[in-house]
Symmetry: C2
């Protein structure tokens, strides 16, 4: 299939409605450009970047691709204001905001000709994002890696619930690494998918080889939603997780957990490769990720799996 | 659509691959017969029945329908052996086993001409069930109500993972209340769906009016997986839940939790309608359940929604 023509591909000017998530310590210029060049939409994840570094990544991404790419800005970043200024100055065409109030930046970004999508984990916040004027909503389920909603609503339940309240395009996230899951999300009414874990474990991801290799060995149940008293985060059950979990099981306070969490633990684990003592963020779907291909191979596979699942799994419905 | 022809409908001799779960205090003869008469497969839930009561429900179900129905037996029931004897004596054609080792009963049931499906929450146990010789596997995700797997794997991730290891037919469960979600599960490679919450909240369900009405008001985040130190169970966040949760947050032991849990709490809540102090089991998908229709209306709606979602949501793929 050369192209999927729907509201998401038209909005962003892309061929396939496949977006790479803005994952901390994974989604740099290399990954974003590779996904964009493969026909999807690549995002630079600004959650682990200071403003000057973001400017460098944007410049590098421009060298690597002529097609549209975007930046994901977690609004809780201490640098969010400066990051947004860099994005506006550098005329990045697309911004995905998350972890904060979509009213803060949507109008300003629109005034600068920038398309805006906002990430949510409930239909309540999806509606607020639509009311704030965003162009699309990403709804992310409980199975996703990293930061996660308090309601724990899974992708299968969340997408139909969000779909009910939205008129603008809906992008599904959480648990999507294959074309089969992409087809399932389209069936639920999403018009695109945001894919995190699968792109975190690919050649162009900035994550360490140690982290990527570990992810290809994870089984079902090897990640767990943790740190619920601070900010629910899906982590690999490594030594660091065990420490956090033991504290939580024995009733540790928020402050005691903050002390164990410390600083720089995600960088230590994901980027520097200390897979025992670092904080490792990845989704449940790592359980079916067994290789470290290129981003282009991932996009190509997803599209051919989508075609095959449509033809084979839904063949029985072809009588309509 | 008059009929869906696949391995699941052929295995059970039914028109639509829609199975009502064997929910405690909901799935009696009335509900099972109504689902079967609507073209699906109705199950009597033996988890809340003593052997004599099961015999009565089977007899009543036979009065209400001429078509195939089944019984769900949680193998951890203290009466599981006696329940199985009743099933064999009464020549029930289909048994769904759960919460235990599928090797225990599969051969004996087969020797008596009974089809067997087994419920799992991981690909590891799906494979064990296939090796035990069952005819089909039900894989149930984290979003499901009531008892749940320790791995917390969601339906979106679980179905593809289980599909990879199975040759026999796969039935998806957890988060499925509409034809859109049924279509999504077929897209993921399942050949049928087991639907719990939606049928728990219908006219023929044995649950109390108080429980059903409460379920139609639940929002995203109003159920939570609880009792993880005993046996993970998804509960409505009512007064009973708050007690359990407070104990868990402060590090209560398994024994302390057992004491709070007590006995008969699910009967008190679901069947007798004490929605504050009883234990209320329902899935996340209750968040989109707003009415109390008949079982036939539910099956009819699911099939027409399935057709519509296939035609509309997947229209863009019609070019294949």
């Amino acid at each position: 299939m050369e192209k999927i023509d729907n509201r998401v591909t038209r909005l962003f000017g892309i061929r396939y409605p496949i977006i790479s998530g803005g994952m901390v310590w994974c989604s740099g210029a290399k990954l974003a450009a590779a996904v964009t060049n493969a026909g999807g939409l690549g995002l630079i994840g600004a959650g682990s970047l200071k403003p000057d570094m973001l400017r460098e990544h944007i410049a590098k991404c421009r060298e690597l691709t002529k097609e549209p790419f975007g930046v994901n800005v977690p609004l809780m970043s201490p640098y969010s204001k400066d990051l947004m200024e860099v994005i506006i100055e550098e005329k990045v065409p697309i911004v995905f905001t998350s972890a904060g109030n979509p009213q803060l930046w949507t109008e300003i970004l629109h005034d600068n000709g920038i398309k805006v999508a906002h990430v949510v984990s409930s239909s309540k916040f999806a509606l607020k994002a639509q009311q704030a004027g965003v162009d699309a909503v990403v709804a992310e389920g409980f199975e996703a890696g990293g930061h996660n909603g308090r309601e724990e609503t899974t992708t299968m339940v969340l997408i139909p619930a969000v779909k009910k309240v939205l008129d603008i395009p809906l992008i599904a996230a959480g648990g999507i690494a294959t074309g089969d899951a992409m087809l399932a999300c389209l069936a639920l009414g999403a018009e695109g998918v945001q894919v995190g874990s699968r792109f975190a474990v690919c050649s162009e991801s900035s994550a360490s080889p140690e982290f990527k290799t570990l992810c290809t060995t994870l089984k079902e149940g090897d990640t767990m939603l943790s740190l619920k008293k601070i900010s629910p985060t899906r982590l690999v059950k490594n030594k660091f997780f065990e420490q956090v979990d033991a504290a939580e099981q024995s009733g540790a306070t928020k402050e005691e957990l903050q002390e164990i969490l410390g600083r720089g633990k995600a960088q230590q684990g994901i980027f520097l490769g200390d897979v025992e003592n670092g904080e490792l963020e990845i989704g449940q779907v790592a359980a079916i990720i067994r290789d470290i291909p290129t981003a282009k191979k991932i996009v190509d596979n997803m599209i051919s799996e989508l075609e095959q699942a449509y033809k084979e799994n839904l063949k029985i419905l072809g009588i309509f």
